[in-house]
């Protein structure tokens, strides 16, 4: 089942902060965050695993509430390069990442 992302779209000025949320009705073992720019392939940002392990870029911050099956991606002091569509992906019910599903995306636009 596809996770829900909010907001659907957000417009920021350079330097402003934003939070993108992802929630699922199913138990989550992992949450992934990717950013896709127009006409390009998705690029990995972060993985948050059940139990607290995180893998990702140093400049990216995210949280994972296992009980609420929710994750949030925190974008601080946004730059023009942050513009793009952010997808969360949820999965990991078995050893091979069963039920890995991407959300519909959040479109972020950063203006000068």
């Amino acid at each position: 089942q596809q996770p829900v992302q909010s907001p659907q779209a957000v417009i920021l000025r350079e330097g402003e902060d934003a939070v993108i949320n992802c929630s699922s009705s199913k138990a989550l073992y992992s949450v992934h965050w990717y950013r896709q720019k127009h006409g390009e392939a998705p690029v990995f940002l972060m993985i948050l695993l059940k139990g607290g392990e995180q893998k990702g870029h140093d400049k990216i911050s995210a949280s994972f509430n296992e009980k609420k099956q929710q994750s949030s991606l925190y974008l601080t002091a946004s730059q023009l390069s942050y513009s793009g569509t952010y997808f969360c992906g949820t999965g990991g019910l078995d050893n091979y990442g069963q039920n890995f599903v991407f959300g519909p995306g959040t479109r972020l636009s950063v203006l000068p």
């Binding site: 596809q2 073992y29 992992s30 992934h32 990717y34 390009e40 392939a41 998705p42 690029v43 990995f44 993985i47 695993l49 893998k55 997808f87 999965g91 990991g92 019910l93 050893n95 091979y96 990442g97 069963q98 039920n99 890995f100 599903v101 991407f102 959300g103 519909p104 995306g105």
Partner: protein, 114 residues
């Protein structure tokens, strides 16, 4: 170090035809997943291959099939093409289980069905 490569870049087919898309994973990766991305939507998981076997499958009909070779490269085959199959097909590779590891995406193959 080459990243994930896909071929062809673009493809135009007519309804009822069959198509084969190809993917070479990032060096050192052993798992390949395929996704379908319609315009303005998130990637939809088709299936994942590991050790030359289909390990997981999304909600796609049997017209979608695949293969993984001993060198970890992979093919996606779609039979009896429908207009609704028009989309960007993305291949992603990872080292180990898709749900637990970073995926590297290829540039995609844009399939147009007329």
């Amino acid at each position: 170090d080459a990243g994930v490569t896909q071929s062809p870049t673009h493809l135009i087919k007519t309804r009822g035809q069959q198509v084969t898309l190809r993917c070479s994973p990032k060096s050192g990766h052993d798992t390949v997943s395929w996704y379908q991305q319609a315009l303005g939507q998130g990637p939809q998981f088709i299936f994942q291959y590991y050790e030359e076997e289909e390990r997981q499958r999304g909600n796609f009909p049997d017209r979608f099939s695949g293969h993984q070779f001993p060198n970890y490269s992979s093919e996606l085959n779609v039979n009896a093409l429908l207009l609704g199959d028009s989309a960007l097909y993305l291949c992603a590779s990872s080292l180990g289980r898709t749900g637990y590891n970073e995926q590297f995406f290829g540039p995609g193959t844009r399939l147009t069905v007329l």
